[in-house]
């Protein structure tokens, strides 16, 4: 059980709802972490922009970045 209640689509403003819809379309879910951070919409929207800037296409292959994310999450015992 999460310590903080995660927000649903009906509990967030229009901007965050649009971000949620994009996740649902692209990956089939809205990550629980982002539903949790949604309690602070300004932090969530900048977090997602930062996430995309780092994990999207850049100077390092996206597949290697995914491998690094999996490795770090494994070390931290976090089921990414």
């Amino acid at each position: 059980m999460g310590r903080i209640r995660r927000l649903g689509r009906d509990e967030v403003g229009a901007d965050i709802r649009a971000l949620f819809e994009t996740f649902l379309r692209e990956r089939g879910n809205i990550p629980n972490m982002f539903r949790t951070v949604a309690h602070r919409p300004e932090i969530l929207s900048s977090m997602l922009a930062h996430f995309r800037a780092i994990m999207g296409p850049g100077t390092v292959p996206v597949a290697l970045k995914e491998m690094l994310a999996v490795r770090v999450s494994r070390i931290n015992s976090c089921d990414y």
């Binding site: 089939g28 629980n32 972490m33 491998m67 999996v70 976090c78």
Partner: protein, 196 residues
């Protein structure tokens, strides 16, 4: 997610212990840098950094360090606040199962693809989708109750007779979860429709 981006099963399994897996030198350098930056307060030894720099430009090193930093941030947030693993939305999962069932070339491909969708979308530890007129022995009893709280089996029924099964195991206590059972039963109905 990593697998969707073309990272093979072998590489994903190598991530359990990158130092011993034969990754290409650039990938290994990045992974060992990630380990050094993640274990402890992030004091990366000079030889680890030098090896990384031998393969990547300054801009690339910055990008790699931000990936490692971002996931340390996310992992710690999730661990501290007990944020639960995210499962695929049931509606989206059923849509994907329907698509896979409709486009698979052979029955065995259909079963394999559906098993893959279940494993990825619901984070099951094990998924077995099989054909036969009897449920697997270990699944006898209501939903495989004998196998513990993390196991669940539903029959695939064609014209009222058992024609196969979906058997899953999870770290979550799914045996008594009505939502999980009803979702798997819907998947079983979709598979049954293709066998009728």
């Amino acid at each position: 997610m990593a697998k969707q981006l073309g990272v093979g099963d072998e590489a994903v399994s190598g991530l359990k212990d990158p130092a011993r897996h034969p990754f290409p030198p650039d990938q290994k350098a990045a992974l060992l840098f990630a380990d050094a930056m993640t274990n402890g307060p992030g004091q990366v030894p000079d030889p680890v950094y030098t090896e990384l720099r031998a393969h990547f430009s300054e801009a690339q090193v910055v990008e790699i360090a931000t990936v490692v930093g971002l996931f340390n941030y996310f992992n710690r947030f999730n661990n501290a606040l007990h944020v639960e693993v995210t499962l695929m939305d049931p509606g989206v999962l059923l849509r994907r199962v329907e698509e896979a069932a409709a486009t698979a070339a052979t029955p065995s491909e259909r079963f394999d693809r559906v098993a893959g969708i279940l494993k990825e979308g619901r984070r099951y530890l094990r998924v077995d989708v099989g054909r036969g007129t009897h449920l697997p022995a270990e699944a006898s009893g209501a939903g495989g109750a004998g196998r513990g709280a993390g196991a669940l089996t539903v029959p695939i029924a064609v014209k009222g007779k058992v024609a196969g099964w979906i058997s899953v195991e999870s770290e979550r206590a799914i045996a008594a979860d009505d939502e999980e059972r009803s979702l798997l039963s819907r998947v079983a109905e979709i598979l049954a429709a293709g066998m009728a």
